[in-house]
Symmetry: C2
């Protein structure tokens, strides 16, 4: 089942009574609509502010926003300045730009299997080959990756990971796995693309330092780091403003800025102004509210899975984020289960196969707990289990 | 002088007393700040609207906006449906996507010399070679373009033009030139990329039908047309919302939509909602006000050029848009004149060389009349002429 077919099927789901674990999108009940309305009004209140809000601007990003982001990165252990930041149209655009800057056809991108579908879509435009990282179960040797890339007519150009509460698995890379990845990247002399979309949404357990923070601590400065950090406000404030960022060495950020300029000049200035205000005044509170809501939903999902699923089904126990990842018996196809689930019990999810670059994972499914309320989650899992 | 050096120099200009003909950007006095504030407030007023405004959305674009755009295209002689439209982050992003979809390294893009610098930046990411269109002075034969492309190791992939009040020359292609371009494109079997950023800003003279409208009239339907139309609200409503569109055959738009999804998912939904409201209620009135303002400024610039410039300088007489293009004596460098103009008489403009793919045009300059008031335009041209 192709991603496009899945999308078609999911379009059928906008009807009452369907419980959807499909969309990996934030709960709109958490959006700060009132504060956003006030921030838009203020951005347009004075002629000087309105002129800036509605005009073209520099490709680097709105300076008060890049200042906020640099200070935010410092709190995460990455001593960034504004020159280490470029604002992008969500972190998705940062991934696209990384593909554009780093990949030529037949080059190799190292990714986990499964990984974020949108990253595969962004990178695939540049016609790479993929090879598989296994950060928690032992990567192959640098030589093995290098030789396979060379045999395919290119070079290994980067390693891409979602280290925290990953889309789609919900799993988090241990410090050891992060350090091993840095060691592999050293040997291959490649950048690590660190996609941190869900990092702020930790419900429990100890924070694991970002790969970029670990690298900066090793090598002494962000400008010497090989890690490219992709951040976003989409899961903490709201995705509809399309504001994310890339944090990396100044030399690399200068190249991203040129790509941004050639691609679409700049992110909407008024949206950057509003996001800066929301980040300045509401970031902590919004994250706190999101954690409280999503934790209750995750708890409902894990409890329902334990109560209703047969022993032959296994699943992850995420410490944060939006996703649980389930592995069905080998003989059960996630895509076929989706068709039955939609028709017979009005439950939706995403079959896991779409997240694998290598065509495997047919017996896996991604269950997002972000949108339904806890009672609906319980009911949805019960219905889904009745099919197994 | 490289584009980056020009930018550095232009950054020096944000100081009182400098008269800038440099930025090719709309006059912020024309932005509908009050209406925009009301539209943002309304988009966020109800929980249902706020949820949609701040959430992810479909990559095709906000349906009420694509409906408005399709109706707008119909008024221009292009019978479009919503399936012929994709919303992009300004028309710049449409140009980037066209390069991504159509160009491989060493392929040939046909462009005028000079042409829009941002188009060259967007296309150059995909490593094409450029060859030169001369729509008003006789293009070469199809065979000549084809053989040159083949010798360079690729094929001719498209022809790109800004047919109305072009950036940078201010000139408009005649109907004959448009038909000749269609005939050339037929022979080469390539798309024509029609960048219409300034089309609405006609001060005088008869409208020339768009190349897409001419093609649809010939071939009978938009789905059979080889023209890809790039539209934008940046010069008529405001650029800061980053909303533009591509209009083309459904088959090609489906490919643009996939590229949009992989690149940055969707244009900010709240900005699309606001733009739809502004387009619905204020499009005609805003264009009328812009034409009135820019016409007076153009008149001031043309009068001052006639009054002060030596006979050795020639310039265009645009019927609309934002730009006059001047050709200096062969021995005078536009880049050197800029350095003198900034230092000695506090006047800025863009040297024309940056707009030529072939390194020519050293003795040309682009004068934008969009930002200064008429009296400042007169004074700025007087000062500039004093250097020549």
């Amino acid at each position: 089942m192709k991603a496009s077919e899945i999308r078609e099927l999911l379009k059928l789901l906008d009807q009452p009574g369907v419980i959807s674990f499909a969309g990996g999108i934030p709960d709109p009940k958490l959006f700060p609509a009132g504060e956003a309305a006030k921030a838009y009004a203020d951005a347009l209140a004075s002629p000087a502010s309105a002129s800036a809000a509605l005009q073209y601007s520099v490709s680097e990003g709105y300076p008060p926003l890049t200042r906020w982001i640099a200070a935010h990165m410092a709190k995460l252990g990455v001593p960034a300045t504004q020159e280490n930041i470029v604002v992008t149209s969500g972190s998705q655009q940062g991934l696209d730009f990384a593909g554009k800057l780093l990949l030529s056809p037949n080059d190799t991108a190292l990714v986990t299997a499964p990984t974020y579908l949108g990253a595969l879509q962004a990178f695939s435009a540049y016609e790479p080959r993929y090879d598989t990282l296994r950060p928690e179960h032992g990567n192959r040797t640098p030589q093995s990756y290098r030789e396979a890339a060379s045999a395919a007519g290119g070079q290994v150009k980067f390693a891409y990971v979602v280290p925290d509460f990953a889309n789609p698995t919900g799993e988090t890379l241990s410090s050891e796995a992060r350090r091993a990845l840095l060691a592999l990247a050293d040997e291959l002399d490649i950048p690590i693309l660190e996609d941190t979309a869900y990092h702020a949404l930790r419900f429990e357990g100890a924070n694991v330092p970002s790969i970029q923070a670990l690298d900066v601590a090793r090598v002494g400065s962000l400008d010497a780091s090989r890690v490219v950090y992709f951040g976003t406000f989409s899961k903490t404030i709201a995705p509809g403003l399309r504001v994310g960022w890339v944090c990396a060495s100044r030399a690399l950020i200068r190249r991203f800025v040129l790509v941004k300029q050639a691609s679409d000049l700049n992110v909407s200035v008024i949206n950057q102004m509003v996001m800066q205000r929301l980040a300045e005044t509401r970031h902590e509170a919004l994250i706190e509210a999101a954690i409280k809501s999503y934790r209750a939903k995750r708890d409902a999902m894990l409890a329902a899975l334990a109560a209703y699923m047969p022993k032959s089904v296994r699943w992850t126990r995420p410490e944060g984020g939006l996703f649980v990842w389930a592995t069905l018996p080998e003989s059960v196809s996630g895509a076929e289960l989706l068709e039955r689930a939609v028709r017979e019990v009005k439950v939706a999810f995403v079959p896991g196969g779409a997240f694998f670059h290598d065509g495997s994972g047919a017996n896996t499914i991604r269950l997002s707990f972000s949108l339904p309320e806890p009672a609906a989650i319980t009911e949805g899992v019960r219905r889904l289990a009745s099919l197994l």
